[in-house]
Symmetry: C2
Subunit: 245 residues, 2 copies
Amino acid sequence: MKTEELCYEADGLSMIGHLAWDETATTPRPAVLVFPEAFGLGAHAKARAERIVSEFGYVALACDLHGDQKVFPDLGTMMPVLTALRGDIARVRARTRKALEALLRRREVDASRVAAIGFCYGGTLAYELALAGADIKAAVGFHSGLQVSAPQDAGQIKAKVLALIGADDPGVPPEDRAAFEAVLRAGKVDWQMTLYGGVVHSFTNPDADLLGKPDFLRYDAVADRRSWQQMRALFAEVLGESPTS
Amino acid sequence: MKTEELCYEADGLSMIGHLAWDETATTPRPAVLVFPEAFGLGAHAKARAERIVSEFGYVALACDLHGDQKVFPDLGTMMPVLTALRGDIARVRARTRKALEALLRRREVDASRVAAIGFCYGGTLAYELALAGADIKAAVGFHSGLQVSAPQDAGQIKAKVLALIGADDPGVPPEDRAAFEAVLRAGKVDWQMTLYGGVVHSFTNPDADLLGKPDFLRYDAVADRRSWQQMRALFAEVLGESPTS
């Protein structure tokens, strides 16, 4: 596998994404955008991008979120930035669209087979990219908030949507699930939602346990494995099975 | 593959199940009970049992529901029988437990690796068997009602529960999903629930379209494939991968 820090501009920021690909591939490969948790692009999203390469043979771009690969150290410093961002549809869409454009400029990528995934707010960004009408085959969110900036645009969604949620996630309450269902139903979207019983927020990230709030944020190895498997099944359906699988 | 009509008594009825297995297997294999739709044991559940053998190498028993492999021809004749049955926990449990016992008497079966699945009311029966505390590894329901006879017994459930539901199924409304979630949460069950957008009842059964009620009963090839895949992933987790897969 090869990796490279990939620079692109978005929303006035200098983004530094983390691109990974199989340098032995002889033809353009399917590709996946990986949006990180709201803290910013760190080890978790980069590792997932690399797994997508090693397990499926796709190209993957772990996307920068705050510019210069900035990672906020705690909720206190991150939340005001997130709050300002998430309500501003133009800025949100710029950050997702520019990442997609940067990925599509790469010769390693088959532009007809691209998907977006994300963790926590990063999954919301995958949904936002789909809502913007981007030509992506799938949008997958792991423990991601379901409040999107422009629900009225659901009719533009071309992607198949997969929401993977801890049933006890305080950040994604049942009323948000119901509202998201209604949005997708109105848009006649091909969507799936899986709930994992006894599971809360951040279930894919072992570092969540370091924050000491197990009723809200907690790693769950079983839900991590099951949700990854479900993503993989959708990828097999819309991107094609990889030669390495 | 070999098949055999397997006779057993349950709830005062002469049940005729349809057993299928790989006669070339040299060791006991994982096994799956397949409970049919409320109409009774017909071609659909038998075919699914045989797929479990051919695709996964397990043993499978398609279970009789009404005795003598009786199949009701329409809702009008079936519903009164179903209504009388579903409220009677002793009768419901007899029909499921006796099927399990019949399966476990077979030398082809590894009794430590057994699961139950079902379609429509058959999935409810898989949940009922789990609620009775049966030693099964998984209970999977496809477009199955979530109202069970003894929700207070959820603490007895040993099985991992997987509910696969059309998000627009009029027979499984959101309030039933919420109530079932609460039951499983109270029982500290390992559970998953997947909703398929734009999908209604009977999505695994092409014959559903013959009933002419597409807003209620409709085959959906995509949801059929996805839900089977999800069942397979859970089987791989709890029963072990099969030699034929």
